[in-house]
Amino acid sequence: MIYEEVTSGSRTRRTLTGAARVLFALKIDGPLVIGLALIAAFGLVVLYSASGQSLSTVLRTAARFVLGTAAMLLLAQVNPNFLRRSTPWLYLAGCVLLLVVAAAGHVGLGAQRWLDLKLFRFQPSELMKLAVPMMCAWYLHERPLPPSWGSLGALAGLILLPVALVAVEPDLGTAALIAAAGALVIVLGGLRTRVMVGLLGLAAVGAFFGWNFMHDYQRKRVLTFLNPQTDPLGAGYHIIQSQIAIGSGGVFGKGWMNGSQAQLEFLPERSTDFIFAVIGEEFGLLGLLLLLSLYLFVVSRAVYLATQTQDTFARLLAGSLALTFFVYVFINAGMVTGLLPVVGVPLPLVSYGGSSVVTLLAGFGILMALYSRRKLIGS
């Protein structure tokens, strides 16, 4: 008995170390992958219900996960030095593509965001979600930190050019995420607190002027966010219905595929931007807490990995990617619960559609590449 236990135990240990060795060889971080896989699995279960039991929707999303995982594995193998050296070219290409989209983009969903590559439709703004933080990290890599005023000015230009191009598409959600990703690099780079406060003040002024450049529907979103009841059947409908869905779910939820708000289509965009409300309705507070815990685990692990990297480029980029992931979650959950205006940000790895799954997983691939090569680029 004892003998068997020992051998079986050692066999288990051998298997584990075997798997760890494989993961190490593939430059994959086990805990991070497990966290992401759990979120994806939960997301697919929810999506089946939220899409009105559409198996094809679930399968298409699963296919995107496969594609995203492939991108992650691939990018994890890339040498960070190569990544860093190609960053300016990537950034430049992204900007050119954005200009192309602005000029002759395909009209989808009333906004010009797509580039039709025959095989699939490519969204340059997704590329910029990675290229902008990479560019900022690249810029700060050789420069002393905290960044000087001059650097800040240059960085502001590097961020605002693509952000402006995306915002005029118009895709406020993605623009905000790109801006956040770039800004996080600067913050992590050691931006002084005084400057941050000053910039927030500037942002407030900017918001005031920005209001004048907003499209009507964007203004309406902001107004409805401030008071959804003013237009209960129009722009306020989304947010009212999503709050009803979440609130009526209670602590334990109405049960999988039994959320009346979602199943009877009272909840708009139930499988895309508002899927968080479906979870709230069908799985209750417990379901949402579980999901938030998974997200926090992934973000924490990613931030930890970032702190373990050893050069400025890797640190800033990895930190930004990790924190951007949280920003995603917070903006989506915030808008669905009525804390933030509705800006059209999907719930990462759970919402249906878009190329964001691939981008997100590619981002984590880069993060793993940065982490796994830390010793090689140490000195």
Binding site: L188, G250, M257, S260, L264, L292, G319, F330
Partner: protein, 630 residues
């Protein structure tokens, strides 16, 4: 000054870690905010949002209650409910509406002239609501559609409960009908209790007893999606839905005897007129006929404008309820009550003879009042005067009694007043008096009562008018020797489930005051004389029971101005109206009847045979023997 700063990796690492910690703290704060928000939504305000969610997904769908049946006194169904097939169309499922409707016309399922209106109706409906486009399809229509159904996406045959009158137009003027709820109906009904009901009683019993017949609607909670569409789903969503069953409307048992009704309608068929038969002992209306009638089903299935105009403009006025609303001079049928007034006021000696030379003139007047057809009755006493309907006798008698006393005496018999029958729409005739004339006429010269008017009053001409119902009521008061019962069409309620009858007590309106039994007997004897040796002797021939009757002939002066001039019909329409009242058996009456045949000529020849048929039908069994009274 060193303008160039050198990278300090250690410091940068520390700075990064610091910032990472701050960011982590901010993340924790944001997450906490989110959790607080979720707590507010899902715990603190859970009940509030649950109610909202419930209100979103559930819609109350009414379940109409089955309308109560209407039965005749023996339980035969006069008005029932029947599932009817109707063609319904769901707009959003029909690819080409105009083409679809055109093909239905080609199939003979729609009429070409209805298409435009239908198209408008369909376009104004919600895209997913089923719109009825053809009601009451025959089995043949259903079959014709069924084999082509695959060519008509979005169309389907549905079954709905509709009002069904198995006897068609029989007794329609007593029954009334059900029709679409109108704007006017909406003002006095509780909309909620009529949700899901398209029809409401109009006229007659259907209208008067609407409340009893309607019942209480139930409802069913239906799961709806955001578009308001009903959705069928299994599972937990369905379990919480409630249903309340409807309570069917109560059945009504009418006093009408369909057998008598059929006989009366058959006897009057082809003529315009009315027959009202009453049970003199309780006011039960045994038959109520007004011809021509119409098929009440037309209204239940939605009458077209064309059909309605046709009924409306028909020269015979089938929509007009002659029995309840037609007012005519009663002619000689009033003679018994004039005689009774003479006896009661001791104006006349019943045995004294008066001489009838065919005409009468008032002292001091040159106007000559002629006998009908210029007959000469010779010396007649009261009994003869009634039996042979001697006008001269009653000209004199009326003159002697005087208008004031005649009016006062006739009032208790129901002249000039509503009988109070239990359906609406009844009209009162005119019982003229000095007072009435004073009030009615505008010119002072017309307000004076002339003695000559009293003379015509004595034979039921002039201002005096009655409805057939009033005259039947009068016959029934004569039959009971003065007992007055309010006529009624409904004699009992029936529980639709148990079938238990709840009889309604007949309503007595007292008695005619101050008439001696002897005098009653005298005028009844005179009326028996009518059917044995008098004006209606031919009709009374071989009757196995003794019956009392009185003929009447009302002069028609002009054709109503609303009717079109029609040369071939004008002569017929200028003929006198024919009246007959009767009750039988004379000593213990079980039925009293009044018959009016418009333009029928003399009462004896047209109306009396109809009355005889009604009496026979009621009193005789299959072998022609008098049935014992029940």
């Amino acid at each position: 000054m060193p303008a160039v700063r050198i990278k300090d990796h250690w410091r940068e690492q520390r700075l990064f870690d610091q910032r990472a910690i701050v960011c982590a703290a901010l993340m924790a704060l944001a997450t906490l905010g989110l959790i607080v928000r979720l707590y507010v939504l899902q715990v603190a305000r859970h009940d509030y949002y649950s109610d909202l969610s419930q209100g979103n997904r559930v819609r109350n769908e009414p379940i109409p209650a089955a309308r109560g049946l209407i039965l005749d006194r023996h339980g035969e169904v006069i008005a029932g409910n029947q599932p009817a097939y109707q063609l319904e169309l769901v707009p959003e499922e029909v690819p080409d509406l105009s083409d679809t409707l055109a093909r239905l016309v080609a199939l003979g399922l729609l009429r070409d002239e209805d298409v435009d209106e239908l198209e408008r109706t369909i376009e104004s409906s919600r895209r997913f609501d089923s719109v009825p486009i053809r009601l009451r399809m025959s089995d043949e229509d259903v079959a014709r559609f069924a084999v082509r159904r695959f060519e008509f996406p979005g169309l389907d045959i549905k079954t709905r409960q509709t009002r069904f009158y198995p006897n068609g137009a029989l007794a329609v003027h007593a029954l009334g009908y059900v029709g679409a709820i109108s704007e006017q109906d909406l003002k006095h009904i509780d909309r909620a209790s009529y949700a899901g009901t398209a029809l409401i009683g109009k006229l007659g019993v259907e209208s008067a007893y609407e409340h009893e017949l309607h019942g209480v609607n139930g409802f069913r909670e239906v799961l709806v999606n955001a578009q308001g569409r009903s959705v069928e789903r299994q599972g937990a969503l369905l379990a919480e839905l409630h249903t309340k069953a409807p309570t069917a409307g109560g059945d009504l048992v009418l006093s009408i005897d369909l057998k008598i009704q059929r006989v009366a309608e058959a006897a009057l068929a082809g003529h315009r007129g009315a027959v009202v038969a009453l049970d003199p002992n309780n006011g039960d209306v045994l038959a109520l006929v007004s011809l021509p009638g119409f098929d009440p089903t037309l209204f239940g299935r939605g009458i077209t404008a064309g059909e309605y105009n046709q009924l409306q403009s028909d020269i015979d006025r089938p929509l007009f309820n002659r029995a309840l609303r037609g007012t005519y001079p009663p002619g000689s049928t009033v003679k018994p009550v004039i005689a009774l007034a003479g006896l009661t006021y001791h104006v006349v000696d019943p045995e004294a003879h008066r001489y009838c030379a065919g005409s009468f003139h008032l002292p001091g007047s040159s106007f000559i009042y002629r006998e009908y057809h210029n007959e000469h009755h010779g010396a007649v006493n009261l009994d003869d005067a009634i039996a042979r309907s001697c006008d001269v006798y009653f000209y004199g008698l009326a003159n002697e009694i005087g208008v004031d006393r005649i009016s006062a005496f006739m009032a208790p018999f129901g002249f000039g007043a509503l009988t109070g029958i239990d359906v609406s729409g009844e009209k009162a005739g005119i019982l003229p008096s000095r007072d009435w004339k004073q009030k009615t006429f505008a010119r002072p010269a017309d307000r004076i009562w002339f003695p000559g008017e009293t003379v015509s009053f004595g034979i039921g001409q002039g201002y005096l008018t009655v409805t057939p119902l009033e005259l039947a009521h009068y016959a029934s008061v004569l039959a009971t020797r003065g007992h007055i019962w309010q006529p009624r069409l409904v004699r009992a309620h029936r529980d639709p489930r148990s079938g238990a009858l709840q009889p309604l007590a007949p309503v007595s309106q007292g008695e005619v005051p101050g008439v001696s039994a002897e005098d009653w007997q005298r005028i009844v004897h005179g009326m028996i004389g009518v059917t044995q040796r008098g004006t209606a002797a031919a009709v009374g021939l071989h009757a196995p029971y003794v019956f009392a009757g009185k003929t009447g002939t009302a002069q028609v002066y002009t054709v109503s101005r609303t009717e079109k001039y029609n040369a071939s019909k004008i002569n017929e329409r200028l003929r006198d109206h024919s009246w007959f009242i009767a009750f039988a058996p004379a000593d213990a009456p079980r039925i009293a009847v009044a018959v009016l045949q418009e333009n029928g000529g003399a009462g004896a020849s047209a109306a009396a045979p109809i009355a005889r048929k009604v009496l026979d039908a009621y009193l005789l069994d299959a072998d022609g023997k008098v049935k014992p009274s029940s």
